[in-house]
């Protein structure tokens, strides 16, 4: 249609527009006027990214900001940004330089990527004198994040329902746990299900991983897993976890149609006692208690029990950090960002309000967990030995199982329902894949 010369011209012009637009979008990120004092006193303004949109909406964060500014009067503004779908959104934003000054480190950031994106907070050995659970977000002896709260792992249950079914003692073996669920089902006290899988919101199935280590009372459980070709045996950590899930589904102790489960709805259902049990970390306690209260039930019904396995006559629970707060390596106001993290861990009262353990070594245990903590022994998982930090993940990925992804567990539930495979067949298959993964990863 147009002569050749014009075509080139048009192309060149279009290219100019492109370049201009790109320049604009690049420029908007850097127009940041926040900067700390040269001497490191917190001042100016920072922005904070948080996954707790609920606490932004209900004004809790406003209170935090006011308190923080009271302590550091030179700080002019703390902009708190609640991010929905935190993992996905923040991960995408981290491809730019503009991802807040303080943010929770997304789970998909691997340890060797930490120095690219986050400011080191200090030497791990030094910081461990004050803080717990630093292993997750440390690399090469430096720590890049501090957990906001520590969680313990076990089983969330509705105490009233279990007591109405006549069960007052914690089950001590997986079989006893299943028998108890059967009793609850037989007595008909939980209308929806004795055990709810939250199959549709499949991330909830990953919560069962909190049992790892507690089953065998072994803080090196994951490291030892890299040394064996058969991690799925009737007594191993994974064997007990996946075996319990399989048996519970097989025996009809879970919801009738898992494809229609509903996470938000399940909070209310366990609150009023339609669901008796869910395998979730202790972080879920305040949410469930709040839902129970909203539904007119007693929030004190929501209670916590340990993993149903005893080693040397004792229950065990694995404690670990929740999200870790880190500082954007591109931040212009690192001093204030650091002050926010320290204030959050020491003075905000966040961990107690969330019914979690404080990340501080001498932190208090919240009232709701006191009785639980008095009956269990707490374990903190050991880090992988030097040089093998990524070995577990490498085998996991190479095997094609990817334990961090609930997909293989969905398959176990599918198989348990349809009877397509027995538990032994599933275990053999998983062990076979794991052995292949070990060979591929050179373990």
């Amino acid at each position: 249609m147009f002569p050749q010369k014009r075509r080139l011209l048009a192309l060149a012009a279009a290219g100019t527009v492109l370049a201009l637009t790109a320049a604009c979008s690049g420029g908007s990120g850097s127009g940041d006027d926040s900067s700390g004092n040269a001497d490191g006193t917190p001042s100016g303004k920072i922005s904070v990214l948080t996954w707790r949109t609920d606490l932004v909406e209900d004004g809790t964060f406003d209170t935090y900001v006011t308190e923080f500014k009271k302590k550091y009067p030179e700080v002019t503004d703390v902009k708190v940004e609640g991010v929905k779908d935190y993992e996905g959104t923040v991960k995408t934003r981290m491809n730019t330089d503009d991802y807040g000054d303080v943010l929770a480190i997304p789970g998909s950031v691997t340890p060797d990527q930490l120095p690219d994106f986050f400011e080191p907070l200090g030497d791990q050995a030094e910081m461990e004198k004050d803080y717990r659970w630093l292993n997750d977000k440390s690399f090469d002896g430096k720590s890049y994040g501090i957990p906001v709260v520590g969680n313990v792992q076990g089983i969330l249950y509705n105490k009233r329902v279990w007591e109405e079914a006549g069960i007052t003692e914690f089950p001590t073996t997986p079989q006893e746990f299943l028998d108890d669920l059967q009793t609850i089902k037989d007595k008909g006290v939980a209308k929806v299900a004795p055990l709810y899988t939250n199959y549709k919101d499949s991330w909830a199935l990953s919560q069962w991983d909190g049992w790892r280590g507690a089953v065998t009372a072994d803080p090196d459980a994951l490291n030892e897993m890299t040394q064996t070709d058969t991690p799925w045996t009737p007594d191993s950590d994974y064997g007990v976890i996946d075996g319990t899930i399989y048996d519970a589904v097989k025996q009809g102790l879970t919801e009738a149609d898992p494809t229609t489960t509903d996470w938000e709805g399940s909070k209310r259902q366990i609150g009023v006692g339609d669901i008796a049990t869910m395998a979730l970390g202790s972080w879920a306690i305040p949410q469930m208690a709040a839902a129970a209260k909203d539904a007119g039930a007693d929030p004190a019904d929501i209670a916590y029990m340990p993993v149903p396995v005893q080693v040397d006559g004792k229950f065990h629970t694995v404690a670990g950090g929740d999200y870790n707060l880190g500082i954007n390596v591109h931040s212009k106001n690192k001093a204030t960002a650091r002050a926010w993290i320290d204030w959050f861990n020491h003075d905000s009262g966040y961990s107690e309000s969330q019914v979690g353990l404080s990340p501080l070594i001498d932190g208090a245990v919240p009232a709701a967990l006191e009785s639980f903590m008095s009956q269990v022994e707490m374990i903190t998982m050991n880090p992988a030995p030097a040089g093998k930090e990524s070995l577990f993940a490498d085998i996991d990925t190479a095997s094609g199982i990817v334990t961090t992804d609930p997909k293989y567990r969905l398959q176990i539930i599918d198989d348990a329902r349809s009877g397509a495979r027995t538990k032994e067949q599933i275990f053999d298959d998983l062990n076979g894949k794991w052995a292949e993964g070990r060979a591929d990863a050179g373990a």
């Binding site: 249609m1 279009a14 998909s108 229609t260 969905l410």
Partner: protein, 322 residues
Amino acid sequence: MTSAPTGLGPMIAAASEPDVARPTRTPGGAGRRSAWYRRLTPYLFLLVPVGLLLLLTYTPVVNMFWYSVTDWDGLDKHKAFVGLDNYVEVFTDPDNLRVFYVSLYYVVGSLVQMALALYFATILSFKVRFKNMWKGILFFPYLINGVAIGLIFLNFLKPGGGLDTVLMKTGLESLVHQWTGDPDIANYSLAAVSVWRYTGLTFVMFLGAIQSINSEIYEAAALDGANRWHEFWSIILPSIRPIVGLAFILGISGSLSVFEIPFVMTNGANGTETFVIRTVWMAFQRNTVGLASAMAVVLLVFVLLVTWIQRRLVPEEEVDLT
């Protein structure tokens, strides 16, 4: 279309015959010397849309091609080149191949959908009471957002939901199933929802084609003693064959790119994973952006291929029934 829209006529003339004097040109007094910027006018108009198109469509696509030959995880500063490994994996991993098998349910669904649409379009092209109301009812589902449809049917098909209630009330308890929970029928349920959604669109396409048939042909046929069935078989179907072909091609490419309904209703669990759901999952759950990009490229190539076949089978002139 045989001629360009009239508004563009002088402009194109101005651009292609710069040296011919045109006395009818703008009365603004612009002479020969200022003609160069006039010739630029169309390009200036094009600048912004073409720039945006390049920026927002072609740049990301080129990026996607680049990601598809790397092992990028969506975050790392370093993207290692891995050649065609990702493409090999798309076609060799049995889990990746399974999603093509799931697509077959939707292909069958699209055939059912065409049959239904053709049936209704034919009936409604004859004299029917409340014709427009029926048309409205049939087309309405297509206007609803796909996510909303997923949520509607999630509640309708869940155990004890709408469908089960109706079956119980009418004494058909034996037909009650876990519509999305039973792995043997989950894909049928989802394909049926998809049919429900898109029948309206196919129906409107068919109806439009049927209505463009000259009514004199029907009259002539009626004089020859043709009944409704003869009219359908000998007049309607041959006349709209290109549109049927088009609907078929759209059905095939649509079956490969099914996303919203199974994503909202089952999240791809229970053996209902489709190609796009798996792509999204690869990119954002498994953090294998490279592999996911390769899958997206494969889908793109597939759709382009289907479109090309469609162009070959149904040349544009024949679609034009006027």
